[in-house]
């Protein structure tokens, strides 16, 4: 499915550009965005190196196990495929906690570590497993307690109360996350049925 979407976006883009006569813009977009992608990846190095270093200390000290132990029921319900006391649990919880606190740049390294563990659990295949998709669903709907960037933008435009969107945002993000988890379950059971046939 990704293959079709990917090719579709490009080819439709080219055709529309041909009709609209803005092929020059498309040419420029290809190369600036390729450059942007590389810049973005390099910008991630600093964050990844720092947080993965700190997290390794937390892991070796046993902090992740403590975290996993404290929230075991939640993880067990969300990720029934992960065996008891598996290191993936600790990383998933740190990823969720970092998202919750709005520490976006710490959440990504921990999420990636969790993905790494889940890939090992899945026999190293290059195919997404059930748990991987659940983790992704939770991350795309991103529960955040305090949307700091937005508050800052609202302040810069002289809002009377820049933080008054915290409550609706929390409500919307909670609904989105619950929705994501339920949709994820639905598609998982549907994929089981398909495989059964």
């Amino acid at each position: 499915m990704v293959n079709y979407i990917w090719v579709g976006m490009m080819v439709i883009g080219f055709v529309v550009a041909a009709v609209n006569g803005n092929m020059d813009k498309v040419n420029e977009a290809i190369f600036t965005s390729a450059k942007e992608a590389v810049t973005l990846s390099f910008a991630m190095i600093s964050i990844l190196v720092f947080w993965l270093g700190i997290m390794r200390i937390a892991e070796k000290g046993g902090l992740l196990e403590v975290l996993a132990y404290l929230f075991r029921p939640i993880v067990k319900w969300l990720f029934p495929d992960i065996p008891k006391d598996h290191p993936a649990q600790g990383y998933i919880l740190s990823n969720m906690a970092a998202n919750l606190l709005g520490l976006g740049n710490a959440a990504t390294p921990m999420g990636i570590k969790a993905m790494e563990q889940l890939k090992i659990l899945n026999g190293g295949k290059n195919e997404a497993s059930r748990s991987m998709i659940t983790l992704l669903a939770i991350n795309t709907s991103s529960i955040t307690l305090i949307p700091t960037t937005i508050i800052a933008i609202r302040m810069s435009y002289n809002s009377q109360s820049p933080t008054d969107i915290v409550a609706p945002t929390l409500l919307a993000t909670a609904v989105a996350t619950i929705g994501a988890i339920l949709i994820d379950r639905y598609y998982y059971y549907r994929s089981l049925q398909k495989e059964g046939k």
């Binding site: 977009a29 990504t108 609202r154 969107i165 949709i183």
Partner: protein, 177 residues
């Protein structure tokens, strides 16, 4: 607000300090462990590059050609059928595709309509309630080399739609009822 800001400033040093002290207490060779763990960060970032280049190029071709504008135009009547304000429809679509693009649109909507208007509040909520699905998908799966995503994209996109509709419902419910 002062509390929120100082919370974010204090929390990260507190967290790092706590991890470092706990590691020391557990007799972990902290500095060596930090270096060893950090090494991985480089290769992960390099792994992400081809995935991100592929995805961002496709998205920007789609945007720059004007195809995205047509999709938005085509979807407008559908949204107005459900009384969804036309101003935020492009933002809802952009939110799933590009984080920086959406942030630009949100600032623009806030600037045009005012931060405390219906549209201004709605844009703020939409921006804050979900993350950029395409980006999260690309980075997380790219970092560990997952090529078959299965139903992941469908789940992410549907969750975005729910977040978008929930934002409208939340703003209407909390401020305008």
């Amino acid at each position: 607000m002062a509390f929120v800001q100082s919370f974010s400033i204090w929390f990260i040093p507190f967290l790092i300090g706590f991890i470092l002290l706990y590691g020391t207490y557990k007799k972990v060779p902290t500095y060596e462990t930090f270096v060893e763990g950090g090494k991985e960060g480089f290769s992960i970032a390099i792994n992400i590059i081809p995935f991100l280049v592929g995805m961002l190029v496709a998205i920007s071709v789609f945007r720059a050609s004007g195809a995205l504008d047509y999709v938005m135009m085509a979807m407008r009547p559908l949204f107005s059928l459900f009384h969804i304000p036309a101003e935020v429809v492009p933002l809802g679509l952009m939110r799933t595709i590009s984080g920086t693009g959406a942030l630009g649109m949100t600032s623009d909507l806030i600037a045009t309509h005012g931060p405390d208007s219906f549209i201004g509040r709605l844009a703020s909520t939409i921006q804050g309630s979900t993350d950029t699905t395409f980006y999260v998908l690309t980075v997380y799966f790219g970092a560990v080399g997952i090529k078959k995503m299965k139903y992941a994209l469908k789940v992410g996109l549907l969750a975005d739609l729910i977040g978008f509709l929930a934002s409208i419902a939340a703003i209407t419910l909390l401020f305008y009822s």
